[in-house]
């Protein structure tokens, strides 16, 4: 166990290495990936070389080989659509991250080295696929335990602060929703009632009292998240909405994000979220539930868009205003005609900035007057159900690419526009979105902090 907490340098570097080494198989023969022919023979040779070098104790040569593995598989991950990337390339990438992290920790190093190793693990978790029984999660946990708070490396030069798009008047303006029809509210309905009256007829509903017993409601604060996940690298969307020109995605640690901007991929946080029973009404498997965590300052706006799954959206901290349009109105919300933004409307929260050529002769769009619109005021502890999903043939099994490279724009999964429901939100704090997808046998849990 680590001793001597008086030293600033990493306490007991030998202990760290022992703990990491114990996670790997004893022999290099066991550290082998079964890869299909889509991975070229030269890469398989290089992977074997890297394993040989690692078990042979040739650290710097192993690192060199890992870099080549990572660079080459990175190129494969960036070729074609993310959903079409062969999973074996992601496993190769994860393998490279694993050995790199291990190599970085072999010699006694300072906390900056451990942070670099943890970053390598996080890249493998973000872009790679699970290998050797989720070994990267275990390695990350060991590294994180050694990066105790207060012993984190001094922050390097602060990442460049991008211009955050602030609301014009500096306040979060609350939209006038008086003329809109309210989403109905229920307190913990029975499964049968929920299914019969809301899920099957595809009607949105706010479920009260569903999430207020979750541990995250009590435990999550910026300090807590900083403590649990501050040293982990996550992708961050920068810019007030993803249709803006200045919008981009960056990689940074949670600490950097919190210190720069305020304040998913981290299982410890996931344990604080429970899955409401209502989600089990779908046909999907529980392990297909994914959780995305979103932080955000007040005034963050999501443009009108559609997600490929049905959603349960729960607020953890703060408050969110949501507008929902029914699927019948999808043409009227002017989806972008590019494939990337096919699921996104060109309509802002207060109407179109510049109307595109109208399909049916309408020249201006006043959402509240023309469309059947529902509004939703979601305080913390509550869940709204957005049950609309596109028709089965319309949706590819798209997943969001976690992050290709810093600076490159990335959009939510693009479902072709058909039967577009949409929600547009102004929010603050934290919210949780759980998605249920009856046709494709998927249940997704999305945690949103907005």
């Amino acid at each position: 166990m680590a001793e001597d907490s008086n030293r600033d340098a990493l306490a007991g570097p030998g202990a760290l290495w022992e703990a990491l080494r114990a996670l790997l198989p004893r022999t290099k023969e066991e550290l082998r990936l079964d890869l299909r022919a889509s991975v070229e023979g030269s890469v398989v040779v290089l992977l074997q070389q890297a394993a040989d070098l690692f078990y042979g104790g040739r650290r710097s040569e192993c690192l060199q080989a890992c870099e080549a593995v990572l660079d080459y598989s990175w190129e494969k991950l960036n070729t074609g659509l993310w959903q079409d990337v062969d999973k074996d390339w992601r496993r190769v990438y994860a393998f490279g991250c694993l050995l790199k992290a291990m190599c970085l920790c072999e010699a006694p190093g300072d906390s900056a080295t451990v942070a670099a190793a943890l970053r390598a693990c996080d890249m493998g978790l973000l872009m790679g696929a699970a290998i050797f029984d989720d070994i990267l999660i275990k390695v990350a946990a060991v590294l994180q335990a050694h990066l105790l708070p207060g012993k984190r490396p001094a922050q390097g030069p602060a990442p460049e602060q991008p211009r955050l798009k602030k609301a014009r008047n500096g306040h979060v303006s609350i939209p006038d929703m008086r003329s809109e029809k309210a989403v109905p509210r229920l307190h913990c309905p029975s499964l049968q009632h929920f299914r019969k009256h809301y899920l099957i007829p595809q009607t949105p509903v706010i479920l009260e009292g569903v999430a207020d017993h979750w541990p995250c409601m009590k435990k999550w604060s910026l300090e807590y998240i900083q403590e649990i996940a501050g040293c982990r690298t996550v992708p961050v969307e920068v810019g007030s909405r993803y249709t803006d020109e200045e919008w981009s995605q960056r990689l940074m640690t949670v600490s950097e994000f919190i210190s720069c901007y305020i304040l998913n991929e981290i299982p410890e946080l996931k344990q604080d979220i429970s899955i409401p029973d209502y989600c089990c009404l779908g046909d999907g498997e529980e392990e297909e539930i994914t959780i995305n965590a979103w932080f955000g300052p007040p005034g963050t706006v999501s443009p009108l868009h559609q997600d490929p799954q049905q959603n349960f959206l729960a607020q953890v901290l703060g408050r969110k205003y949501i507008r929902l349009y029914s699927p019948q109105e999808s043409e009227a919300v002017y989806p972008h005609d590019t494939h990337l933004l096919h699921n996104t409307s060109q309509v802002g929260p207060r109407g179109l900035a510049a109307p595109p050529p109208p399909p049916g002769g309408r020249t201006t769009l006043q959402p509240s007057s023309v469309l059947s619109l529902l509004r939703c005021d979601l305080p913390s502890g509550n869940c709204v159900v957005i049950p609309w999903a596109p028709s089965q043939e319309a949706v590819p099994k798209a997943r969001k690419r976690p992050l290709a490279t810093a600076g490159q724009p990335s959009c939510p999964p693009g479902a072709p526009a058909s039967q577009l429901p949409a929600h547009c939100s102004l929010g603050r704090g934290l919210d949780v979105r759980l998605s249920m997808y009856i046709y494709f046998v998927h249940i997704n849990v999305l945690v949103l902090f907005v």
Binding site: E40, G41, S42, V45, L46, Q64, A65, E67, A68, D71, Y72, E75, N78, T79, G80, L81, P159, E160, S248, T338, H339, L340, T405, A406, G407, Q408, P409
Partner: protein, 379 residues
């Protein structure tokens, strides 16, 4: 790939599989070194480099493989190396000018039978052998210009005859075609702007680059996700992904690593370490970073040099000027830029080695992570 003047080849960049590049020490070469092949004295007229091996074609018609793949074969006119497939154009078995196109697994060392073979028609009405500029270009374009070879099935891909293809280059997910009239076409995946049509949409069939219409191009080159063409007047047009500065535009990733020179007052020398005030732009504040350039941008080389030929690796670019200088930029982690370090550059930078050795560069061929250069003594 035939060259008129005799010269010697140099190499730099990644050689982690032992592919002949220079002196043969280590996994990468950071500065140009004379190419050393086992068959000393072979007169190399063509180079085609894949990631883990390189194919050399000699004037005598011999193809030599070096790196993860080895072996040699005679009677070859041309070779094109990709990671999964080695394509060779060999003299036909029968009499006459016909040739045979063969696709080999790189590991086969050119022994046994090819994976696939097809007789190809000679170019209509053209002489065989070393030709001038209007001959249909090297592989992957076939001599008849009616089809090209792809590393992914289907291997043999016809081209519409009205395209009158002169030169064809393949990127990771796109293709560039140069026709007889000097017009450029592109098709394939477009998510990184590499097609140059101003959008991120894919194109299924060759589409003319309207932005370049009317300009006669002399050369095209395709990188992993970027495209370059050189006009007959010596101008460079470049578009696609700029994540490593391969478009010579300010790249955010380089700035965050402290490597970009965009907007900085670094030691600017006239040889192209940087440019004082690039043409037309007053850089008071830092220039905005460009991740993707979806339509062609004109690129000026330092000192107003004219370009004659270009080649691209997966994330770097190399250009030869009329006066025989070599400029490189983009991803440099494996020394593929030849500047004696592993820095990436988002500005054109002259490779000083050839200037110092009084060599005139005549040709450049980039592999994905390395660069081969042909140079002659200055007269």
């Amino acid at each position: 790939m035939a060259e008129e003047r005799p010269g010697s080849w140099f190499g730099f960049g990644f050689c982690g599989f032992g592919q002949a590049l220079g002196s043969g020490r280590g996994r990468q070469v950071l500065s140009p070194e004379p190419l050393r092949l086992p068959d000393a004295g072979t007169d190399i007229c063509g180079v085609s480099a894949a990631w883990s091996y390189t194919a050399f074609v000699s004037r005598a018609g011999r193809v030599l493989l070096s790196g993860s793949a080895g072996g040699a074969a005679d009677g070859c006119r041309d070779a094109w190396a990709s990671e999964t497939l080695l394509v060779v154009l060999r003299d036909g078995r029968g009499p006459g000018p016909g040739a045979e196109l063969q696709a080999w697994a790189p590991g086969s060392a050119l022994r046994g039978e090819p994976l696939w073979a097809q007789t190809v028609a000679p170019e209509a009405g053209r002489e065989d052998g070393a030709g001038g500029g209007t001959r249909a270009g090297p592989l992957p374009l076939l001599p008849c210009a009616r089809a090209y070879v792809s590393p992914r099935p289907p291997l043999y891909r016809p081209l519409a005859p009205e395209l009158r293809a002169r030169r064809l280059e393949l990127g990771a997910e796109h293709a560039l075609l140069l026709d007889e009239a000097g017009q450029v076409y592109s098709w394939g995946g477009g998510r990184h702007g590499q097609l140059g049509h101003g959008t991120l949409e894919a194109e299924l069939a060759p589409r003319l680059l309207e932005a370049l219409q009317g300009l006669r191009m002399a050369e095209v080159a395709a990188g992993g996700w970027h495209s370059v063409c050189v006009s007959e007047m010596g101008d460079i047009y470049i578009w696609g992904w700029n994540e490593s500065g391969q478009l010579a535009l300010p790249a955010r990733g380089l700035a965050e690593d402290g490597q970009t020179v965009a907007g900085e007052a670094t030691a600017l020398k006239e040889d192209g370490s940087g440019v004082k005030g690039p043409a037309g732009t007053e850089e008071g504040a830092a220039a905005p970073f460009i991740a993707v350039q979806p339509f062609p941008a004109l690129l000026d080389l330092p000192l107003g040099s004219d370009a004659v030929t270009a080649s691209c690796g997966s994330r770097h670019t190399a250009v030869v000027t009329r006066t025989g200088e070599l400029y490189t930029w983009g991803w440099g982690k494996y020394g593929q830029l030849g500047h004696q370090d592993t820095a990436s550059w988002d500005r054109p930078r002259r490779v000083q080695y050839f200037v110092d050795k009084r060599l005139q560069v005549t040709a450049v061929r980039c592999g994905p992570w390395n660069t081969y250069v042909r140079a002659v003594e200055q007269s």
